[in-house]
Symmetry: C2
Subunit: 380 residues, 2 copies
């Protein structure tokens, strides 16, 4: 607990109290794959300046911290938001990738991938060790790579548009202790130098020219089935702001209504409201009608596909197929996931490339039960 106190600039008794209150949580499964780490904790909630998901580890009597990734604010109305938040500013527009947020840092001799909530994910870590050039950390030991992990082989968000294998899309490089981000320009330079895959940067515009360009980009991304954008002050001194495409909102709605009894009600509401505000800002009569259709289809087809699944298979689930280099890492991942969710696994053996293939199924219980009851004439 001493290293935690040190990392958070607290007294040791204060750190212990935080632990007792459940705000500070032990989040570590000792394993040879995590050989650099002696102990690790995470913050379940924001504490002082430390963000929720802040990760703290000790390695050979040294303390490491990876500050939680700060929430990116969302706007529903581009024009007013741009005027208000980016006045006098040069702004970079980058792609918002639909995956899961990971912070990649080096602890001791190895790379670790920490999830949004502050857990080290064995699967993501193994993949990061395959893909991320370690040289970066030798030159920038105080920094972490903030990436979106995306692809079909994802344990969380399976999106084929980003390819089959899980890839890392770098969007911020931040100081692990202060959470300060490098400028967009510097980030791009580093990405080139160390051969890191960037979340696409669409361009740089002054505040006055931003709106028309953003609208063009959003329309294109929407056609291409991509998620949206993040607008960033090129010096990373102001809040970054995100905005999503109708494609993304409706794809979320479809997902939410597939699992309508398990997903938070706010999730559905916010997606629908985003569509309303986007319609207000950019629709013509014709595109409005297309939007009506898209929203209705997302909702109804989501419910219908779940009814079909329940009728055909008697259950509902989310499935993914993951591949591991190392069988021990796979077993560690299974242990890791079982701590977090109700998941079933099936080991499918080795594929042609020598990867261990793991089939993962999350049961969606409450919606399945509700559907079973309703289609057999039950009440709601």
């Amino acid at each position: 607990m001493k290293f935690v106190a040190e990392a958070l600039s607290l007294s040791e008794p204060a750190a212990k109290r935080l632990h007792r209150r459940g705000i500070l949580k032990s989040a570590f499964i000792p394993h040879p794959f995590f050989s650099d780490i002696d102990e690790a904790y995470l913050l379940e909630k924001k504490f002082g300046k430390y963000e929720e998901g802040t990760f703290i580890a000790s390695s050979h009597n040294r303390s490491y911290i990876a500050r939680g990734f700060p929430k990116i604010k969302r706007t529903l109305v581009l024009e007013e938001c741009i005027k208000k938040h980016f006045k006098g500013c040069d702004v970079a527009v980058e792609e918002k990738i639909n995956g899961y947020n990971v912070r990649i840092l080096k602890i001791g001799e190895n790379i670790y991938a920490v999830t949004r909530r502050g857990y080290i994910c064995p699967y993501t870590t193994e993949r990061a060790r395959e893909l991320i050039n370690k040289e970066f950390f030798n030159d920038f030991p105080d920094y972490m790579l903030c990436c979106e992990a995306a692809g079909l082989e994802s344990p969380h968000v399976q999106k084929e548009i980003y390819g089959k294998r899980l890839e890392f899309y770098l969007f911020d490089i931040r100081n692990t202790r202060t959470n300060e981000a490098l400028s967009v320009e510097k980030k791009i330079k580093i990405a080139e130098e160390y051969n890191l895959r960037l979340a696409e940067v669409f361009g740089f515009w002054c505040c006055e020219e931003l709106l028309s360009n953003v609208i063009k980009i959003i329309k294109r991304l929407n056609r291409e089935g991509r998620e949206g954008i993040v607008m960033k002050d090129i010096n990373m001194k102001r809040l970054s702001v995100k905005y999503t495409t109708s494609y993304c909102n409706c794809s979320d709605l479809n997902y939410a209504f597939r699992y309508f009894n398990d997903i938070g009600r706010d999730f559905m509401l916010t997606r629908a409201v985003r569509e309303g505000f986007q319609s207000y800002e950019i629709d013509s009569e014709e595109t409005r009608k297309e939007r009506y259709l898209r929203i209705g289809k997302a909702i109804v087809d989501g419910i219908l596909s779940s009814i079909d699944n329940v009728i055909e298979e008697g259950k509902l689930y989310e499935r993914s197929k993951l591949r591991f280099r190392n069988k021990e890492v796979m077993e560690l991942f299974i242990k890791h996931m079982k701590k977090l969710a109700r998941v079933n696994f099936e080991y499918l053996g080795l594929d042609n490339e020598g990867y261990h293939v793991l089939f993962m199924e999350k049961q969606v219980i409450s919606t399945a039960d509700r559907i079973k009851n309703l289609i057999s004439g039950g009440f709601w």
Copy 2:
């Protein structure tokens, strides 16, 4: 409290405890218009066999009770529900009216209209005294008329389809003390005899012939912009079951998204899910596409109309215009409503027919604030 104890078959200390616990609530504003009543209470929650909304009054040392109206169960899948719940039964199909539920009974010398929650509503009571034939209560002193109060001049649900003035649509006649309902046939006979307006009875069918007829009725009601149906065992011995049209579900969605930050999230979810299950049961490819459009339009246009209102007037509200015969009743109604909700009133004077016209405006604060923030570039 003695009359309450008597009405609920409790000891007096038990009734007092119920009051202290807030389950039994005093719900009465003494007034000459309520001259028959000395005291009145309601049940805020179900207690034993007594339904939520049960109303208890004393009048000249006599206790009166009006049992709370029992919740009508809803099905989302007609076919299985009909098989399961109405096997071997003759079933009446009646119109479900979109208004507010009132129980009309006679206390002492006069008629009183009690709302779902168990309050005497002065406005509804005055209108009931205009419209309801008191003779019924002389012949059936132990019964109450369970009606839907509907029309444009409604303090709760303004629907022009039911005409301008508030009317009462009788759907059940129940014993005030046992809550047992008269058979459908008997109800129809009584309605004819005492000239009471019935919620339309579409017909009677045996279980085997019910489904096809119900689907025909639902399709017609949907085209006509009406709410739905209630299926009833003609002897009123089984649970009644309701089912709504897509028109109604979408009209609810439109309403919900107009006030998206004030309406419960469950309200939106359930309407959308009803549409999904209706699509599963009755849609062709063509009607499914119409449904997509209808749902999307309801949601988006709801949000857009509220954005427009906030931009034009800086606020959001629900408005209704009510008319009173008696100015004192109007003032009593204002007092009654102010206890229940945040409402503004404006007295508009007498109309040609000698009615006092009252303008009522319920402010919708949270959604208006949210929209103001968003359209000025705020985050969500």
